[in-house]
Symmetry: C2
Subunit: 198 residues, 2 copies
DNA sequence: CCACCTCGACCGAACGGTCGGTCCATATCC
DNA sequence: GGATATGGACCGACCGTTCGGTCGAGGTGG
């Protein structure tokens, strides 16, 4: 077992800093000098840990994409009625989003500007397709209203979930991710209208 | 009436080009040379029409903010039951979003990187506050479910509506904005669950 | 125990290139 | 001919990246 390392900067801690700064100022709006200042390393030292600014982006995006795809492989997402699988994916996605907030935020804001950006957009489309299939199956099983287009429902549902990154900040006092996920499901599945008093 | 002018470029047409390119590559990721190429003007000629890249951003953001605030002043948004006012604002916002798509997209992606960006974020918060008041009033009037926090409902509702900019493209064959607005309201107000057969 | 060596972490300086923006001469309209 | 519109040449600042070299902890031989 290795003794407690004395290294003060590893790739992971650098990645945390980078994701935070990228999120705040945008990838294109962040210079390597910004990252240097935020990490306490000189600009040139950054290149001792990563080979380029774009690699930093790629690593950060992987930290978001990996757990998102993992959700789609969980038992709760692959067995049972489609609407229950859909609910599971939504709740778990909210949890991943909370746990990996800076990385998921970055993922949702990426453009097709660089090769890495285009790769991330492709992966996002793959993920969306999985969910779209789930919604379509739930419509066929009679659990999701058939009067709205399934693709539209998918997009709006995930627009709602993804918008969490714009304001959700975990921490003491904040709604925890599991409770938040339940609230999101309640609103999305049952609507905001008060139950009619009848 | 002016004769058919030979001027090929005015500020508005330049603004259209700029908004499109900004949306595609991001504001920071767009160089003035990119705008030069896209508009057919030389880089220096751009400065004959606008004083800076940032002014171009400001003008574009105004084209989004002005009609959005106008919606909140319409009679349908100021009289009647709160839930009906809320529905009116949602439907009209979808229409504005469709009509001013590139500008609204830009508004929703702005960071606090520049002074103009921070100004836009402030205006967005003002707009959100108006809607938050509407939701809170509808809760008090008993038309919106009281078991979810009104601020949460506001944020999720507008997260859903705003996500339209990520995929909606008007044009032949596409759902028109009014019909889309109605569908958004139906999903948000009544939920995606099929009505229980009883 | 200590002189020697290795090696990963780190930095200051500078590279070629691109950035937003300026200057001034020219072309085109009324 | 004067206001309007345009473009080529150019500027200083800053960009991402590279390079030569320093530093100090840990291993090794005597």
């Amino acid at each position: 077992m290795p003794a407690p390392g004395r290294k003060r900067h590893d790739v992971m801690s650098l990645l945390e800093v980078a994701a935070a700064v990228f999120t705040e100022r945008g990838y294109d709006g962040t210079s390597m000098e910004d990252l240097s200042r935020a990490s306490g390393l000189s600009k040139s030292s950054l290149y001792h840990h990563v080979s380029s600014k774009e690699e930093l982006l790629r690593l950060a995006l992987e930290r978001a994409l990996e757990p998102l795809f993992a959700v789609t492989r969980e038992p709760g997402a692959t067995t049972g009625r489609a609407i229950d699988r859909l609910e599971h994916v939504v709740v778990r996605e909210v949890e991943v989003l909370a746990e990996r907030l800076p990385y998921v935020t970055l993922l949702l804001r990426v453009h097709g500007n660089t090769a890495t950006g285009r790769w991330a957009l492709r992966r996002r489309r793959d993920f969306d397709a999985v969910v779209a299939d789930l919604v379509a199956a739930a419509v066929r099983e009679g659990d999701v209203r058939p009067d709205l287009d399934a693709a539209l429902v998918t997009r709006l549902l995930f627009g709602m979930v993804n918008s969490l990154v714009e304001w959700y900040r975990p921490g003491r006092g904040a709604l925890d991710a599991a409770a938040l996920g339940r609230d999101v499901v309640r609103l999305a599945f049952d609507g905001l209208r008060a139950a009619p008093a009848r």
